[in-house]
Point group: C2
Chain length 400, copies 2
């Protein structure tokens, strides 16, 4: 397995485009297209919020499918909480796009991200579709990755190449997301494509497993969005057919996992106003679920996040958050490590000198926190951010 | 029932004191005492965190009791995550205090709040005990309420007078807390006293009911602390004995509820860096528990809180938070009211003009958000705050 530069455009048989259609007031790109001439099998994972955007409901109605030709994506407008009109707008736009491409409506997916509650500017998108199609190109193309971002500071792409059955296959993807990333991929869009051929049912399982190890383990502020979507498209252009019975199946899954992990890491590194990436590992727990709950409670604690922003070795807040997770453990057995330093032993701090050492470690951009419960053999890891003045600034300014 | 000024000192038969013993570096008061010559029945409610401070474990070991003479409280040091030494320090100090007062050790309670993990400065407290006892006085006394606060901007007291069985009885209390107040009274200490005589078992139920309507309905940042404690002391000095069989019992409970509500409101109004108090009422829900979960999800959403700080009528974030609460409802039936204005009808926003009206309402210090689910007849209310730059500043600076 080899990581390569680029993203979804680098997958053979897929074309991509990204342009500005005028939804974003600043004139930045806001409309993207992924296109496969050969119909692709497609699977999706969506927000579990009870308030789902129209494009989520639309895609859920179509997927899984063996016949997807195209995914239309806009940023700047979430088309969420837009009622019947929101769905009608999707039906209209997907029909227009299908007409241009001379494919069936049901082969067209649409995803949106941006402000909730504003009507989708259908005219702007419809007017831009011919130009969008003209911009479609094969190969390396950062334009669609640019067109799907909102408050993100960077575009997010990842790709790998695998050698399977003597042939080369590629898995490539792009994502957007920087705030609201927890625990179920909130305000995140991610698109992964491959030129392998895979059955839709199997694809769904592989995608869920990859998401559980990547997008579902990152948290910026504990919220979950109306629009979260992760799509996997497989068009079979490599003429390599894969199934779990295949000896190379684990290699394919490892490639899919890696692309999802890379994209998730790019999202967490771009967390709104974040200055640090925090990896929280809860070890020797009685259950994996309990470990995960404790890790999330720590990662989402504003008190922990502000202390980390200040590089303050205020381990009491970490212990406090762990205790608040509603998971049984013995506080007198807990060890807490920051990087290579044991900061708390058997639930008791190791003193000012150790705290000063940890203060130096906490100044770095990457921090590993390990909470060892000495209770069992299960563990869980999540990634989070610190909470800075800029987090407040970005989220105060978002609509203005 | 009549609200009166003052707090715990105004309850007949109780004396109180508050002084500085040097735990707080700035020389502010940090040691308080509540004393009843007549032994008081006492009940307590404590943090449900799995990481409990030594004073919580200590008080839980003694309560309920019919024989409490004195509560010693320090601020500036939580005596949490301090291991065996933490408990030994309490046993030593309560013995010293009991010796001075010539009462049994088991009649002395101790509570702490402040930084987690630092050893309790036993010498400073022991040295100050004679001065503390000399300061004990009957009647109106803000000194103990000052001595228990940490990052609070104001002291918090409340009291009511009731006419029962032709006699006057008083219920008075004091509290501290401004951050970390959710959902189980995090980083909150509250002490309520009455001169009624009540059985301990009955007291526990009445206190739990009052807490569920007050301290357990406020949230500042979703964290829960190691030290949360609510104590009720009843010394019977009024010679009025009360039980649930008594026709005046509901009046007593209403008085207790009111004192707890007033104290809880003072805490939420003092939320760290908060500029607004937000009341979130979820109505016409299928279950009270579901309504409560949705209300908390909204109240604890950093995205909602930053929008409210900006007075931004960004109702999409409120809808998004409601949807993320993992409670079933139909998004197309939801109405959202801000104050007297219907902002979202059947899940869809009512337009820019309405948003502009709401923007004006959101500039006020008190905001009522009503989420009407049209699903059933249950409801729940919680109180929260906005999230300001100052929240980050206060929590970044806390230990420096």
């Amino acid at each position: 397995m080899q990581e390569i530069s680029g993203g979804i455009g680098n997958v053979p048989g897929f074309k991509s485009a990204g342009i500005s259609c005028g939804i974003k007031k600043n004139g930045k790109k806001d409309l993207a297209l992924i296109y496969s001439e050969k119909p692709a099998a497609a699977a999706g994972i969506f927000t579990t919020s009870r308030v789902k955007a129209a494009p989520v409901l639309y895609c859920q109605g179509i997927l899984p499918s063996k016949q997807i030709h195209v995914v239309l994506i806009n940023s700047g407008n979430a088309n969420a909480c837009t009622g019947k009109q929101g769905m009608d707008n999707i039906l209209y736009l997907t029909e227009v796009l299908a007409g241009h491409l001379k494919v069936s409506d049901k082969t067209v997916l649409m995803c949106s991200t941006g402000v909730i509650g504003a009507p989708l500017p259908v005219d702007k998108i419809e007017t831009a579709i011919p130009a969008l199609l003209q911009n479609l190109k094969s190969g390396d193309n950062p334009a669609p990755a640019e067109a799907i971002i909102t408050t993100d500071l960077t575009i997010k792409q990842a790709a790998v190449r695998l050698n399977i059955q003597g042939r080369e296959i590629t898995i490539g993807g792009m994502a957007k997301g920087s705030g609201m990333i927890c625990p179920n991929m909130a305000t995140m869009l991610a698109f992964v494509a491959t030129d392998a051929q895979i059955k839709t049912g199997v694809m769904q399982d592989a995608l869920q497993a990859a998401a559980d190890k990547s997008f579902n383990r990152i948290t910026v502020d504990g919220d979950m969005s109306t629009n979260d979507t992760l799509l996997l498209l497989a068009n079979g252009a490599s003429q390599v057919t894969l199934s779990p019975a295949d000896p190379d199946w684990p290699l394919f899954c490892a490639g899919l996992d890696l692309v999802c992990e890379r994209l998730a890491q790019l999202i967490i590194r771009d967390g709104e106003g974040a200055t640090k990436v925090i990896e929280i590992r809860v070890e020797q727990a009685a259950s994996r679920e309990g470990a995960l709950r404790i890790a999330y409670q720590i990662a989402n604690s504003n008190l922990v996040k502000t202390a980390l922003f200040a590089a303050d070795a205020n381990w009491g807040r970490i212990m406090g958050a762990a205790g608040a997770a509603n998971v049984d453990f013995d506080q007198h057995k807990v060890d807490l490590w920051i990087g290579e330093i044991l900061l708390v032993e058997n639930g008791v701090g190791r003193g000012k000198e150790v705290e000063n050492q940890v203060h130096e470690i906490l100044k770095k951009a990457d921090v590993l926190i390990r909470v060892v419960l000495h209770q069992g053999d299960k563990q869980a890891t999540v990634w989070g951010n610190d909470l800075s003045y800029d987090y407040v600034r970005i989220n105060v300014d978002y609509r203005s």
